[in-house]
């Protein structure tokens, strides 16, 4: 591949270049043709709605009548809206507590499943299963029943003399409940961690053992740095994901964000504003604020990643 074109270019410079660019054009055309269905979908279903939502965020729009331009009013009133501030608080505490715990669980189980033992395939699927069904509405309903009054959790705890009652109706217990729900759905990051762990050469661990390193040392000096790109990827994806929690909050709180606003997640409030109160412009402003904030957080992650994410082939 590398030899022959160089040779031919030397002998007859013009013709092959032409042929090559023709070839390139054909490749590009074929490429774009294959890309077309996706591209059309992307423009019609993602870019288009985003642009119109950006426009709507500067308007007063009630779904039925044409939008009225009001400039930055939606954005400024947001910060005087107590329910909005409450929804930010709820969501941030969910992201801050839920995401690290979920990743820790995912990594711990991935490491357990990485070693060779009997029935490994079964365990892997068993641990992955919750995240497969996790996004579905049914799980939220089951979760509500488990944590409800006289549900298994309530009865289990009262067996140990702890009487919290149901968690669903108690404003101070709903957040732990949601954090548990997300931790339990660690399957997707776990599979990615597992793939990452498989990539770490066994001889590194062997060499470390020879030097007398224990499991803790092996983890921090081999596993963590070797896995850091995967950890970074999971952290980024799960954080973005956590900001978008909606379905389970909607189901468990009957679409109201209660009790006492304790499950008023950002996207739920956005939805209520748009579809219950017919304030689509306001909801669009909220959506764009979320995009901007998630964008900034992603940027911070990428900037700080240089100090702790190691790619092979990088100069240290």
């Amino acid at each position: 591949m590398t030899q022959s074109p160089t040779l031919s270019r030397r002998s007859t410079p013009s013709a092959p270049t032409l042929r090559k660019s023709k070839q390139r054009g054909a490749d590009a055309r074929a490429g774009y043709t294959f890309l077309l269905p996706w591209l059309l979908g992307f423009i019609a279903l993602t870019v288009g709605p985003m642009i119109s939502s950006l426009y709507l965020s500067f308007t007063n729009y009630n779904l039925f009548e044409p939008p009225k331009w009001i400039g930055l009013d939606n954005y400024t009133t947001l910060f005087q809206d107590e329910r909005f501030l409450q929804s930010v608080g709820v969501t941030v505490s969910y992201v801050v507590f839920g995401t690290p715990l979920k990743l820790a669980a995912a990594l711990a189980v991935a490491m357990l499943l990485n070693s060779k033992r009997k029935g490994q395939g079964f365990y892997r699927s068993a641990f992955y299963a919750p995240s497969l069904i996790g996004a579905s509405v049914s799980i939220a309903i089951v979760w509500k029943a488990i944590f409800g009054d006289a549900g298994p959790v309530d009865q289990g705890l009262s067996f140990f003399g702890i009487n919290l009652g149901g968690w669903v109706g108690n404003p101070s217990m709903t957040m732990p409940m949601f954090v548990l729900l997300t931790v339990w759905q660690f399957g997707a990051p776990m599979v990615i961690f597992l793939a990452g762990l498989k990539q770490i050469p066994a001889d590194l661990y062997e060499a470390a053992s020879m030097d007398g390193a224990g499991p803790v040392r092996k983890f921090f000096n081999i596993t963590w740095p070797m896995l850091s790109p995967v950890i970074f990827f999971n952290l980024l994806m799960e954080t973005i994901h956590a900001f978008q929690i909606f379905a389970s909050a909607y189901i468990i709180s009957n679409g109201e964000g209660g009790p006492a606003g304790s499950t008023l997640f950002y996207t739920l409030y956005l939805y209520l504003r748009g579809f219950s109160d017919f304030r689509m412009g306001y909801a669009s402003a909220m959506a764009w604020l979320l995009v901007i904030v998630v964008g900034i957080i992603t940027l911070i992650f990428f900037r700080t990643s240089k100090s702790w994410v190691h790619y092979s082939g990088d100069a240290k």
């Binding site: 979908g41 779904l63 109706g169 108690n170 109201e256 790619y311």
Partner: protein, 429 residues
């Protein structure tokens, strides 16, 4: 080994394909122009309610289809809260179901914004309707909704529960003070096993009735609030001494039990609400008998009560099958056999033909008798409330619930509600 370039490419490809998969939604729709027994017209009908209503509605639909083989009705139902969010989504997409069960709270929002069909333009027989009731389905002279039935506010109680506690049955002539004492008595005599009731100050319509008892209009003609912050504080103060006691079920329990009501779950002995909930409460609680008495009032000559269309039938402005929709609505509001199916579970039938064709026995008779007994106190049915009223009602409920959780003071609650209400009125001005 992982290197940066491969890693990022993999991420990019993965994300892109996930987006492509997500974009692959499917949608289909069918519409029939003309109907015949072999090739019937399809219309969609949606309602809110519980299993009891679903079963009755399915019976009514089957009956309609057997009498009208050229029309097929596709029924679909959800609970009340989800119902309106679903309708809003459909309205935004231009695809409301052909025929819908409707609530007075949302009639203005959709009617005034041209989402509902002017039923004056189709054939629906309203001869058998009380003339004072029809205006509540009308906005600016156009008829958007036909009432199926009427309901009035009442206090429910479970006589068996009261008997077991040794408490005499109430006759309904009580002041707020007496009513509160009654609730306290239930809670203390049962040692907290049965609560007196739910906090009735969290129900918008009860607040509205209290305003009428004090000769205050809830909304002025130009779409503003007719009451003051002080009125609202006074109202929420009515049960201030009962919150957190066995007189009133805790908000935590109410939330746990949702979507069932505490009364339907046998947690309380009374409930202040619409009289047409009888059938639902009976099936939820399994009680043999539930009784109804008038709401409390400090002025026994003015109970503030009125008959409200408990539900309305409306059609989508964009329906392709106007005539089929009209025939179905006409059938649901007028047919005597439909009255037999629903009895009083939608309320007392609004059309005289339906009312006369229905036999009311047992608990259904209690509801009809109750509405007869309060006849002399009844005032005009309210006009369709202001645009955005559904939102106001929901935030009234939410803020009352925060009050019961102890998350706000009464002053703070009134401030919060007024702020939202004024904002909403300004938005829709």
């Amino acid at each position: 080994m992982i290197n940066r370039r491969n890693f990022l490419t993999t991420v990019a490809v993965g994300t892109a394909s996930a987006a492509a998969l997500a974009a692959c939604g499917t949608g289909s729709s069918t519409s029939g122009e003309t109907g015949s027994a072999e090739n019937p017209v399809n219309i969609d009908y949606t309602w809110w309610g519980n299993d009891d209503r679903a079963e009755r509605t399915r019976k009514a639909i089957a009956l309609f289809e057997s009498k009208n083989p050229d029309i097929k009705v596709n029924g679909n139902f959800t609970d009340f809260a989800g119902y309106w969010q679903k309708r809003a989504t459909e309205a935004a997409g231009g695809g409301l179901p052909d025929v819908m069960q409707w609530d007075l709270s949302y009639l203005r929002d959709y009617g005034q914004r041209n989402q509902l069909l002017d039923l004056g333009t189709v054939k629906i027989n309203t001869d058998a309707f009380d003339k004072s009731l029809l205006p509540s389905g009308q906005i600016r002279g156009k008829t958007y909704g036909i009432p199926t039935s009427t309901n009035a506010f009442a206090v429910y109680y479970d006589p068996a529960k009261l008997a077991s506690l040794g408490i005499a049955e109430p006759d309904g002539s009580w002041s707020y003070k007496e009513f509160n004492e009654f609730l306290t008595q239930v809670g203390s005599k049962s040692n907290g096993a049965i609560f007196g009731g739910t906090d009735y100050t969290g129900v918008w319509w009860m607040f509205n009735i209290w305003l009428r008892q004090n000769n205050i209009e809830a909304f002025t003609e130009d779409g503003k609030l007719g009451f003051t912050k002080d009125d609202m504080k006074k109202w929420w103060n009515t049960t201030a001494g009962l919150r957190g006691t066995p007189a009133i079920v805790s908000e935590e329990r109410v939330t746990q039990l949702a979507p069932k009501s505490p009364f339907g779950s046998n947690v309380t002995a009374t409930e202040v609400t619409w009289d047409n909930f009888m059938a639902g409460y009976l099936s939820d609680s399994g009680a043999k008998e539930l009784k109804l008495v008038p709401v409390p009032s400090d002025d026994q000559d003015n109970l503030g009560l009125f008959l409200k269309p408990s539900m309305l039938m409306v059609a989508s402005a964009k329906t392709k099958n106007k005539d089929a929709a009209a025939r179905f609505i006409d059938f649901m509001v007028n047919d005597p056999e439909v009255g037999q199916i629903f009895k009083t579970s939608r309320g007392v039938p609004a059309s005289k033909t339906q009312r006369d064709g229905t036999t009311f026995e047992g608990t259904d008779k209690l509801v009809v008798d109750y509405e007869k007994s309060i006849e002399k106190y009844l005032k005009d049915a309210p006009e369709p409330p202001i645009v955005g009223f559904g939102t106001l009602e929901a935030s009234f409920k939410r803020i009352s619930s925060d009050l019961n959780y102890g998350k706000v003071t009464i002053d703070g609650a009134a401030d919060a509600w007024f702020k939202e209400a004024e904002d909403l009125i300004k938005q829709n001005a």
